[in-house]
C-alpha cells in the first residue's frame, strides 16, 4: 500500500523558487504579464522592419536570419551616438539602492524587475561584446552571449518597465534605467518585436494624426456631444473652432480625452474654461494627438509623430500652443520636441492673453501646460470659482511620473486643486512628487491582456490611495494624465473600490462660475451637486 502522508505533509506545499543564478533562468512567459504581438499591417504602415503578424507565445518569433547582427550593430551604433548610454552601461556599481524602488518589483516580487537587474539584462550583453574583461572572462565578469533566450528575456522584461524613472531618483550616479529600457525597445523594434497595443496606435497616429485613428468629422462630432452636455448642465453653449487659421493659440490634447470617460469630463473642462475666458484659440483635427506612443518604439518614430505639432502651428499661423493634461506627452514635448523638430522660431514666447504673464519656462519650446496656464489665471484672480460645488469630493493628487520627474510640474496642479476644492489630502511623502509611484501601466503597457502585470505595478500607488481613503475618506483621485485617467480607474476598481478618478480641469470646470450660466444642478458627470441631491 502506498504510504499515506500525514496531514502536515499534505499541506506542505513547498513552492520556494529554486535558487539559481539569474543568467541561468530563462524568462518564462506568463499569461497576464505581456502584451500581444504587433500586427504585420501596422508595422508595414510604419515601414518598420520585419513586418509580419507574430505572437510572443509561439516558439517561433519569425525573426530575420541576421537578427543577432542587427542588434549588435545597433548597440555599437547607439553606444557611439549617445554618451549617456555608454555611461549607464559602464558605471553601475551594483550598490542596490535602486533595487527595491520599482513598482513592478514591489508589487510583483519578480527579482528581474529590480531596476539593477533589468539593466543587467542588457549590460551583460554589452560586456560580452564591448569590454575586454567580458570578452575574456565571460560569465565570471558578468558577461553573456546574445542568444535567442536572452532576446526573449529582454522582450519580456523591457515591456515590464514603464520608463517611470523612479529608480533613477535613488541612484547615487543618476543612472536612468528608463533609458536602458528605451534602448532595449528600440533594438527590438529593429526586428519587428513590437506589441500590438503600441504599434496599432502608432500606425493610426501616423496615418490620421491620433492614436485612435479618428478622422476630423469624428473628432468634431465627439466635441459636439460634449458641447451639448455642457449646455444641458450650464445653459451655455460653448463654441470652439477647428483648424482656424490666424487663431492666437493652438490647443493640443491627448486623444484619449475625446472619447474615454473620465477623460471626456476633463475635455469638457477645457472647453468651458477657454470659452469663459474668451481666448482666441483653435483645435486642430490634424495635430489631434498630444500623446506619442512612438516614444515607446524608437527615437526616430517619436520624432516623426511629433513633427505634426509644430507643422500645424505653422500652417495655422498661431502664436503659441497650449497642451492638455497628459503625462508622456509632456516628457516628449518638454525634453525632445524642441531639439527634434525645432527651433519653432515662427512662434512667439507664450504670453497669457488674460494675465499678461510671459511663460519664460517655455521660451524655446513655445508650448505651455494647461495647468501652468490655469494656475496663473487663479493666481491673478481671473477666475470666479465656487469650490463648494466640489464639496462632495475628498481629493488626493497623483503625480504622473512624466510631469513630476520628467518636467518638475509639482506645484501648479496642487495649487489649482486647492483653489477649486475644499477637501484635499496628500498621500504619504514617499509616494508623491519626485518619489511618486507610477500608475503601473505607462509606456504603452495599458493593454487589457496584461492586466496582472498592471495590477502588480499599480499596487504601490493604490496602496497609498487606500491609506488616504481610510484616514480621510478620500473618494477622488486627481491627476493630469490621460493614461492615468484610464488606468488608475482600473487600478482603483481592483485595489481601492469607491475611489474615482478625475482630471484637474474637470474639477476646475465644476467650480467655475461662468457668465450667464443657469443654476447648476449637476456636476459634469451628471451627478447632483452637493445640496442638490434628491432634486430631479
Amino acid at each position: 500500500m502506498a504510504k499515506l502522508e500525514k496531514p502536515e505533509e499534505l499541506i506542505k506545499i513547498d513552492h520556494t523558487p529554486p535558487k539559481k543564478d539569474w543568467m541561468d533562468t530563462p524568462a518564462e512567459f506568463k499569461e497576464g504579464m505581456y502584451c500581444w504581438g504587433a500586427k504585420g499591417k501596422d508595422l508595414k504602415i510604419l515601414d518598420f522592419p520585419n513586418a509580419r503578424d507574430w505572437s510572443p507565445k509561439e516558439e517561433d518569433w519569425k525573426l530575420p536570419e541576421n537578427w543577432k547582427d542587427t542588434i549588435l550593430e545597433a548597440m555599437a551604433d547607439r553606444l557611439s551616438k549617445y554618451r549617456s548610454f555608454r555611461l549607464f552601461m559602464d558605471i553601475c556599481v551594483r550598490c542596490g539602492a535602486c533595487a527595491d524602488k520599482c513598482h513592478f518589483f514591489i508589487g510583483g516580487g519578480d527579482p528581474k524587475n529590480m531596476p539593477v537587474l533589468r539593466a543587467e539584462l542588457m549590460r551583460s550583453v554589452y560586456r560580452k561584446y564591448h569590454t575586454t574583461g567580458g570578452k575574456i572572462f565571460g560569465k565570471t565578469a558578468g558577461a553573456r552571449e546574445l542568444t535567442l533566450d536572452v532576446l526573449k528575456e529582454w522582450w519580456y522584461y523591457f515591456y515590464q518597465c514603464t520608463e517611470c524613472r523612479r529608480c533613477s531618483v535613488f541612484c547615487p550616479y543618476g543612472i536612468d534605467t528608463a533609458e536602458i529600457t528605451m534602448m532595449g525597445r528600440e533594438f527590438m523594434n529593429l526586428l519587428g518585436l513590437n506589441t500590438g497595443w503600441i504599434s496599432g496606435p502608432v500606425a493610426n497616429c501616423y496615418m490620421k494624426g491620433n492614436h485612435l485613428g479618428l478622422e476630423p468629422h469624428a473628432i468634431m462630432n465627439s466635441i459636439e456631444g460634449m458641447i451639448d452636455d455642457i449646455e444641458t448642465i450650464t445653459g451655455i453653449r460653448v463654441n470652439p473652432s477647428f483648424n482656424r487659421k490666424g487663431a492666437e493659440i493652438l490647443f493640443v490634447t491627448p486623444s484619449g480625452d475625446l472619447f474615454a470617460d473620465p477623460g471626456t469630463f476633463t475635455c469638457m473642462g477645457y472647453l468651458m474654461l477657454f470659452h469663459e475666458l474668451g481666448i482666441d484659440y483653435t483645435w486642430s483635427t490634424y495635430a489631434s494627438e498630444g500623446g506619442n506612443f512612438g516614444f515607446f518604439t524608437s527615437n526616430e518614430t517619436a520624432k516623426r509623430l511629433n513633427s505634426k505639432i509644430y507643422a500645424e502651428a505653422k500652417r495655422l499661423g498661431v502664436k503659441w500652443i497650449i497642451g492638455g493634461e497628459c503625462g508622456h506627452m509632456w516628457r516628449v514635448l518638454s525634453q525632445y520636441m524642441d531639439t527634434w523638430n525645432g527651433p519653432a522660431d515662427f512662434l512667439e514666447v507664450p504670453k497669457s492673453p488674460i494675465t499678461g504673464t510671459v511663460f519664460d519656462n517655455a521660451k524655446s519650446m513655445k508650448m505651455v501646460h494647461v495647468t501652468e496656464f490655469t494656475a496663473d489665471l487663479i493666481k491673478n484672480g481671473k477666475l470666479k470659482l465656487d469650490p463648494r460645488r466640489n464639496d462632495n469630493l475628498k481629493v488626493t493628487y497623483h503625480d504622473s511620473c512624466n510631469t513630476a520627474r520628467g518636467m518638475g510640474l509639482l506645484e501648479e496642479p496642487r495649487y489649482i486643486i486647492n483653489n477649486v476644492c475644499n477637501h484635499f489630502y496628500e498621500m504619504p511623502d514617499n509616494t508623491i512628487r519626485e518619489q511618486t509611484f507610477c500608475c503601473g501601466s505607462g509606456t504603452g503597457l495599458n493593454a487589457s491582456e496584461n492586466m496582472e502585470l498592471r495590477m502588480r505595478g499599480g499596487l504601490p500607488r493604490a496602496n497609498a490611495v487606500k491609506h488616504v481613503r481610510d484616514q480621510h475618506g478620500v473618494n477622488m483621485l486627481a491627476n493630469i494624465c490621460a493614461i492615468d485617467r484610464a488606468t488608475l480607474s482600473a487600478s482603483m476598481d481592483y485595489w481601492v473600490p469607491g475611489v474615482k478618478v478625475t482630471g484637474v480641469h474637470e474639477l476646475v470646470a465644476n467650480a467655475l462660475i461662468m457668465k450667464g450660466e443657469k443654476e447648476r444642478e449637476t456636476d459634469l458627470r451628471g451627478e447632483p451637486l452637493p445640496g442638490k441631491e434628491g432634486k430631479e
Binding site: E8, I11, I13, P111, S222, E224, Y494, R525
Partner: protein, 190 residues
Amino acid sequence: MILKNLLSEKRAAILERWFEMVLDSYPADTSSFLKQQKNQFANPVGAAISQGINGIFEELLSGKDSDTIPAFLDNIIRVRAVQDFTPSQAVAFIFHLKKVIREELEKEISENQISDELFAIEARIDKMAMLSFDIYVKCREKIYDIKANELRNMTFRLLQRANLICELSEPEQALIGSKNLNVKRKEVTK
C-alpha cells in the same frame, strides 16, 4: 482554554514563523526585501501579509467569527491573486498556520490533553480556508470584469456617437455604471 492560553503565550513566535513561511513562497531576494523593509508604503506586500496574518491570528484567538476576518484574508489574497501563484499556492498560506501551530506547540500538544481544542481551532482554520477560496475567485472575477469594462469604456462613446448605441434604460445604466448618460443630448448626431 489551555490551547488558547498557549497560543497567546507563543503569539510572537507563531506569527514570526508563519510570516516566514508565507515569504518563503517568494524568490530569496524578494522575501528578504519583504521582510526587511518596514515602511508600509515602500513595501505594501510585506505590510499586507504581516497585518493580515496578525489580524487573522487575533480573530482566531478571540474565538468569535467576526466580520473582520474576510477583510484580513482579502488583504493578502488580493495581492497573491495577481502574483505568480496558482490558485492553491495563492491561498496555501492559511493552511501553513496549522503547521506552525503544531510545530511551535509540539511538546505542549503531546503533554496536555488538548486534542479537542486543537481540533476546534483547526476546524476554524479550515473554515477560513474555504472563505479564502471564495475571496480568491472574486478577485479573479474582478480582473476579468476590469478587462471587459476597459474595452467597453474605450469604445462606448465612439459607438454612441456613431449612433450604434441607443440611450439606455435605467437598469441598463446601472449595469454599465455610467451616470453620465443621464445627461440628455438633443439628439444623437449622425
